[in-house]
């Protein structure tokens, strides 16, 4: 199942290698920059979302402070790491002049990517569900011959 998930990009890679022979249009440095920015932004935003969940988790347990503080520290680490790595120089800057511009770009980029992911998951799950419900109803019981 995991192989089936990764099959389309692997097939594209194989076709590209067969037809082009090299990856002249692919800049690995730019791809790495995008990967690093996506990792840092996803980590920070996801931690922020989980921090909100933790707040409600604490409701049933007299709202303990320790896990909340732990998660705030984890989120703050994400923000600090993002600012620190982007501030290192051109390594994580994608056509943006400053740390703030890159950080805002990362967040907006993440919204667009998340929208595409949400749409793709909705379509994937929806089509699977509609394929299943399109079939004739099945009987769960096998009639025994007397």
């Amino acid at each position: 199942m995991l192989l089936a998930f990764f099959l389309p990009p692997l097939l594209i890679l194989a076709i590209e290698m067969t037809l082009s022979g090299d990856f002249k249009d692919i800049d690995s440095g730019v791809s790495f920059t995008r990967f690093a920015n996506a990792t840092l932004t996803a980590y920070t935003l996801c931690s922020l979302f989980l921090l909100g969940n933790l707040f409600f988790y604490g409701e049933s347990r007299n709202r303990p402070l320790a896990p909340l503080v732990g998660m705030v520290v984890a989120t703050a680490l994400g923000v600090l790491a993002t600012v620190l790595f982007i501030g290192q120089g051109s390594m994580l800057l994608e056509n943006n002049g400053s740390v703030r511009a890159q950080a805002i770009y990362n967040i907006v980029h993440m919204f667009v990517s998340s929208g595409a992911i949400l749409m793709a998951v909705s379509v994937g799950v929806g089509v699977t569900f509609s394929a299943i419900t399109s079939q004739k109803p099945r009987s769960n019981f096998v009639l025994e011959e007397e």
Partner: protein, 264 residues
Amino acid sequence: MDEMLQAFLLFWIPVSMVPLGLWHSQSSAASFSSLRGRSLAFFGIILICLSPWTVPSSPSSAAGHLLGAIIGPCTMLIFGIYLISFSGNVPVGKLPRSDRRIGVLMAIVGFVWLAGMHWWILTPQLSLNVVNPYWYVFWPTFLLLISCLASCSAVTLLMIGDQRKSESNTMFIVSGLSFSLLLLGLYIDGPLVSGEEFRQHLWLAVADLAGIAVGSLLSILIFALVIYGYERNLAEPQSISPPTDSELKQVSKLIATHIGGEQE
């Protein structure tokens, strides 16, 4: 007004209104409160879509422009799939059979509309012949992930499902269709998007998806560790004394009256 303040008021506050409104509508049981939350989210989406006109100086407003461009086909696609699904054999919430035809039509028009944004004149443009940069993010990510998910779903239906071959074939067709669109994008230029540009952005989409997966998993792992650490350090709950003989006798008497059945 200062550009930063303008972007904050007319782009970022509407952006925050969407999750806040959704959260409010989901968390409150009262219908008025739920309606208020949904209205807040809807108003936020409208303001985001209007951001290219309200805050044209902010580069982030290009995301609002993209949202305005794709909200129509995406709604048609999702609503079409919903109509197809619930006009089939579902035990609850079944829609009339005639809705199926409308659903198929809506899904096809929605998908063709999206495809027309790459290969026809419908490409989202910020100004004449300037393609919205976020379109290059949305389209390859969407196509690639649909292809991957449909392929995974097809194999899952075959492996786990019981006599689900025809459903699996449908999913293989969906995966093949989106894969063909990816290949077409790589080798056939659109009016505004060339194959080379699409190729670069396809691999950036792969890097993006990998980064999102790694970042999210890392954050979930840390969340689990924080919870585990907290739960492990909790004091042992106070033990109660074991039941006495009379209590045990009473319990066994109660159990004896409730187990067993009539002899056939």
